[in-house]
């Protein structure tokens, strides 16, 4: 290591920002460079499917990024934050990385914080009129296509698909959701609750075509229809593809890391390598002893903040040759989703459950409040609150404190 250590954080969104702030917070005073691929300072993405998508405002992507820019801690003044500076490759043995513009940077410690990118449907047909939603550019592009009432087809009924559908329906567009596998958000929240939320969306005029895929698009130079797996063509002016994400790990290939689904780490977010290296945010695949010892990526908004704190401590220990802290890292997964007049707040990992219990409320009166718990082999693994007061969140969250004993 050089006299003054150099840490490179690759990824300039929330994960990169939090990693930098937390490294400073734990006392790391070496050089710190964040390599961000986007041309903007870190901004908050959840509003892109809700408030920012719906807001009646002009503005280009720079304005949108400014409106949702993250507050940054004062310590960020002592960080080199590079934008429009994607990292193309890295050589962990020689501790160098190469940017897309061909510059080579040396480092002593590395943080992988490159996050995800949306998956696109790989089907034939025109590409104009087809959208994904991850960046302010995506959001701006989608907003620009919605200047008059449109026939919108949303492919994929996950959380983003459901939020976008609700937002666009509220704006007066005709919205049809096409989902190839199951009901809205079913994989996470279970079939009963999923069906109730589907009914709520339908009551607001959203249409669902379930267990049906999109196999192509029609149209000369832009989309005029979505070809469904049964052969029917669904007329469409605008298509939103919310069909999952891919981890941005290509820049790490060639270093013999496990990149099969994000970046594999141990419970302390350390990447197995002779180089001091950690991963942060939704690209990190780590085991959470609240549930079991299976490493998983977690795509929740809260993950960058939670993982950055621990990863910073781990990286500093690795850089200084001290022992990595032994306390198990057991963050309580937590996420929310706003759809029409429903707020879904979730704690734990309901997707792991084999049993769903309705504890309070009625499925056909979601706006009045619903509390659902999720269990795996009789162990409480998740909680979903629909339209329950924030005053109860602390109690609901604190139900998850007991670790699964190590095998």
């Amino acid at each position: 290591m050089s006299l003054r250590p150099r840490v490179a954080i690759v990824g300039g969104s929330l994960s990169g920002l939090r990693a930098a702030e937390q490294l400073r917070a734990v006392g790391y005073d070496g050089s710190l460079t964040v390599f961000g691929a986007e041309p903007h300072a870190p901004y908050n993405r959840p509003p892109l499917s809700k408030e920012i998508l719906a807001a009646d405002l002009g503005g280009d992507p720079v304005d949108l990024a400014g409106r949702t820019a993250f507050r940054q801690r004062a310590s960020m003044g002592n960080v080199d934050f590079l934008t429009s500076c994607a990292v193309e490759s890295t050589d962990l043995t020689n501790r160098t990385l190469r940017t897309a513009t061909g510059d080579v940077h040396h480092f002593d410690g590395l943080v992988a914080a490159t996050g995800l990118r949306p998956r696109h449907l790989a089907v034939p047909g025109p590409t104009q009129g087809r959208h994904v939603l991850r960046t302010v550019e995506d959001c701006h592009h989608l907003r620009s296509s919605l200047t008059k009432p449109r026939r919108v087809v949303v492919v994929g009924a996950g959380f983003i698909g459901c939020e976008v559908s609700a937002t666009l329906r509220k704006l007066g567009h005709a919205v049809t959701v096409v989902e190839p596998a199951g009901r809205p958000m079913e994989r996470v929240i279970g079939s009963e609750v999923s069906q109730a939320i589907q009914h709520h969306h339908e009551a607001q005029g959203v249409q669902f075509i379930l267990d049906t895929g999109v196999i192509g698009f029609e149209g000369a130079d832009r989309v005029s229809g979505a070809v469904l797996s049964g052969g029917v063509v669904l007329p469409a002016d605008v298509v939103v593809e919310s069909v999952g994400s891919l981890s941005n790990t290509e820049w790490l290939t060639g270093n013999e890391l496990d990149l099969s689904d994000g970046v594999l780490t141990d419970n302390h977010l350390r990447v197995e390598h002779s180089l001091p290296m950690v991963a942060v945010g939704d690209v990190a695949r780590f085991p959470n002893p609240l549930f079991d010892d299976v490493p998983r990526r977690v795509e929740h908004w809260s993950m960058p903040t939670e993982t950055a704190k621990r990863a910073a401590a781990t990286l500093v220990a690795l850089l200084t040759g001290e022992a990595v802290g032994k306390t198990p890292f057991a963050p309580i997964p937590s996420f929310w989703s706003d759809q029409f007049d429903l707020r879904l707040q979730c704690f734990g990992s309901p997707a792991l459950a084999d049993e769903v219990r309705i504890e309070e409320g009625e499925l056909d009166r979601l706006t009045s409040g619903l509390l659902v718990t999720y269990h795996r082999q009789d162990r409480h693994v998740g909680t979903l609150a629909v339209n329950l007061t924030g005053a109860r969140q602390r109690t609901l969250r604190e139900a998850f404190t007991t670790l699964v004993p190590a095998a």
């Binding site: 908004w301 706003d338 007061t389 969140q393």
Partner: protein, 62 residues
């Protein structure tokens, strides 16, 4: 320290009340109440509350 919550942005998610319960509270009506001039000993928790606010409505001034 001085803390301000932008009420135009705040949606009463309540994450701040989990991170810094001495400073932020969701009342029985489900609305946020907070102490705008907390003791400096609360700084770490207030910083965390500002970090975890889904709508980034919490501003900290020294």
């Amino acid at each position: 320290m001085n803390v301000t919550v932008d009420r135009q942005l705040c949606q009463d998610h309540g994450q701040c009340a989990i991170a810094a319960p001495e400073v932020f509270r969701i009342n029985d009506e489900g609305k946020l109440e907070y102490n705008g001039t907390p003791d400096d000993a609360q700084r770490e928790y207030v910083e965390e509350a500002a970090d975890v606010c889904p709508v980034q409505a919490i501003l900290i001034a020294d």
